[in-house]
């Protein structure tokens, strides 16, 4: 069952400078759903709109960011709601932390440097639960123990902890109220490989223990491959391909995805790798038609004029590319030959 449904979401940054307004279309017509109990990945490069998408669905919309269309529906067990209908910040705050929770990017800067870790935990817990100090301690102790952390970290300041430790504390803080949906924004970026592996293990463990749904946003395809059940690939504000990880990594259908995957170097393989020509477009002025066409080796006239829709290929795989439509078999053959 889908716990989160996003329908044709448009989130734009609208700014006014000297009377001239400019619009950055960071999320442009994105639709997807996330099933209960799965790990859903969102991949893409910096500036493709993945963090904006996360902000929009967790209700963290502040000017200049505006939602100009679409729906975001949560289907909790006891309640259904559209987060865009919540006009009151108080209502949204009650939702965040308790039912949906965000593991933010950059653990270096999310913890207050002049307050002990315990204070941050107190802020989160007392905002949502009416508990006594003893109950608070028991709750935190049990949670930390389950995550393999020590109670002594509660009395430290953030600078006393290593980067990996800080990230683990942040994860513990985000999950202490057993949220139904966890959003993780680049949770392992800027961590060392060994620590990254530890954090991935931790996220997996929490997910299994608390039986919740995880939405993982990162640019690192390898992390997606190790964690996710299903994966969406974003390019220039749009989802270009979505599918379960095995079929997406096994046979990517969009030229951008296949380029992204084939450019990844692997240990044990020294064969030459190339990256795509050109650079991602500016979202203030994206190219007409398919936004990938200036960098696409298979682009035809149609790609320059029409925007391909995200079409269902089979039960688990969706792709936005004219190459995959019927009648383009000849193009597909050419693509296969060149590979």
């Amino acid at each position: 069952m889908a716990i989160l449904e996003v329908d044709n979401l448009k989130a734009y940054y609208v700014t006014q400078t000297f009377g001239r307004s400019s619009t950055v279309r960071a999320v442009d017509g994105v639709s997807f759903h996330v099933n209960k109990n799965e790990i859903y990945g969102i991949a893409g490069e910096s500036g493709c709109g993945k963090s904006t998408l996360l902000k929009a669905i967790s209700g963290l919309v502040k000017p200049p960011l505006q939602i100009l269309g679409g729906e975001i529906r949560y289907n909790f067990a006891d309640q259904q709601l559209n987060i865009l209908d919540l006009k009151d910040e108080k209502q949204r705050r009650r939702l965040r932390g308790a039912r949906i929770s965000l593991i933010p990017q950059g653990s270096m800067s999310v913890l207050n440097p002049v307050r002990r870790i315990k204070k941050s935990f107190e802020d989160v817990i007392y905002a949502h639960l009416d508990v006594s100090e003893g109950e608070f301690e028991e709750l935190v102790k049990n949670h930390l123990e389950a995550l393999g952390l020590d109670w002594t970290v509660m009395h430290t300041y953030p600078h006393q902890l290593s980067g990996g430790m800080r990230q683990r504390v942040t994860i513990a803080l985000s999950t202490i109220l057993r949220p139904e949906i966890i959003f993780a924004d680049e949770p392992t970026t800027a961590l060392d490989v060994v620590v990254q592996r530890g954090v991935i293990q931790l996220i997996k463990k929490i997910k299994e223990e608390q039986q919740n749904t995880l939405i993982l946003v990162t640019h690192d395809m390898s992390v997606h491959a190790t964690l996710c059940d299903r994966l969406a690939v974003m390019y220039a504000g749009e989802i270009v391909e979505e599918g379960d990880v095995k079929s997406l990594f096994g046979s990517p259908k969009h030229p951008y995805t296949s380029m992204l995957l084939s450019s990844l170097p692997k240990i044990g393989d020294k064969s030459a790798r190339v990256s795509a020509p050109g650079a991602p477009p500016s979202l203030a002025n994206p190219p007409a038609g398919c936004r990938f066409h200036p960098r696409c080796p298979y682009a035809v006239d149609r790609c320059r004029q029409e925007t391909p829709a995200l079409r269902q290929l089979n039960e688990t795989h969706r792709v936005a590319c004219f190459l995959q439509e019927a009648g383009s078999m000849e193009l597909q053959g050419r693509a296969a030959n060149e590979q």
Binding site: S162, D192, V193, G198, Q201, H219, I267, K270
Partner: protein, 319 residues
């Protein structure tokens, strides 16, 4: 005597002291590190390790930003940091930094860096910048692409290539690249990595490539040194070291790199390190606290470098 060598790093140690008086503590950021690069055989030498392993300190020592506590660094026969051959050294050894948006001043036009460098290092005729054009051509940019542009107007990949081009103006023999691709988007990353490979093959530039990313290290480098808490724990040809790592730490590092393939997921759990500083001050082998194969000797005595199968491994297992 070292005329055949481009760079000789001999038994270099760098100690940083922290605090004052009674609470003074010492950290050996780099501990007895030795390696050499040949003059006539350009190569890409990778320093790989986690953050806090001392790999950036090695780069600073080679560039002369830091003075070694003990040991010596000799570049083309002259000690680094001395006055003799200093101008030659600055021309010959060029750094490339991690984040191109921090390399360039956001309020200065990118071209001014090229023009200043060219003015400083060559005979200059006003209005003409032949070396700039040549350097830009080498990295696949044109003068019109950077003309009158501020750093914010360029993409990360473009800007990093511009940063490499700036380093190439003086026609260097050695580039020190500290995490040059970690801030660049995945779809552009390989263009910079391939550029390093081409510079080595075509321009005969040696490169010291500092990274935590073993996959790109495997892709471009010839030799690799795995660093842990200031020490080289394994040094050798990249194919040998990463195909079949011998040191338990190298093995852990290799096993922790997630593969871009959903079929191969990890099954077993790992232990994370205790506080960094605790590992720095550890007696014996620095890895003993996390090593699955550690025995009593490891906790007592620091292992020597043992030559095994064309490489050096700092581990008691291979004594």
């Amino acid at each position: 005597m070292n005329s055949e060598k481009l760079l000789v790093v001999d038994n270099v140690t760098k100690v940083f002291t922290k605090g004052q008086g009674f609470v003074k503590s010492k950290i050996e950021a780099v501990s007895r590190v030795s390696f050499a690069l040949e003059r006539n055989r350009p190569e890409i030498f990778t320093l790989a390790g986690e953050s806090g392993s001392g790999k950036s300190t090695v780069a600073k020592l080679i560039l002369g930003f830091e003075i070694p506590t003990t040991g010596s660094i000799v570049y083309k026969g002259n000690p680094v940091g001395g006055l003799k051959g200093k101008r030659e050294f600055i021309k010959d050894v060029q750094p490339i930094f991690q984040n191109p948006f921090e390399t360039f001043n956001p309020l200065k036009k990118v071209q001014s860096y090229f023009h200043d460098t060219e003015r400083n290092f060559s005979k200059f005729s006003p209005g003409k910048y032949p070396l700039t054009e040549r350097a830009l051509e080498l990295v696949g940019l044109t003068a019109s692409e950077i003309k009158d542009k501020y750093p914010s107007e360029m993409s990360g990949g473009q800007l990093q290539r511009a940063s490499i081009a700036r380093a190439l103006i003086t026609n260097p023999s050695l580039l020190i690249a500290d995490e040059p691709v970690s801030m660049i988007d995945a779809s552009l990353r390989m263009s910079v990595v391939n550029l390093f490979k081409r510079l080595k093959d075509e321009q005969k530039v040696s490169i010291i490539y500092i990274t935590h990313d073993l996959a790109t290290a495997y892709y471009i480098s010839d030799r690799i040194a795995i660093m842990l808490r200031g020490q080289f724990v394994e040094v050798g040809a990249v194919k040998k070291v990463l195909d079949e790592p011998l040191h338990p730490y190298s093995q852990l590092l290799k096993a922790s790199v997630p593969a871009p393939d959903p079929e191969t997921r990890w099954s077993e759990d790992i232990t994370l390190s205790d506080l960094e500083t605790r590992e720095y001050t550890r007696k014996g082998c620095k890895f003993a606290g996390r090593c699955p194969k550690a025995f009593d000797l490891c906790r007592e005595q620091e292992p020597e470098h043992h030559a095994v199968d064309d490489r050096l491994v700092k581990c008691h297992l291979y004594a």
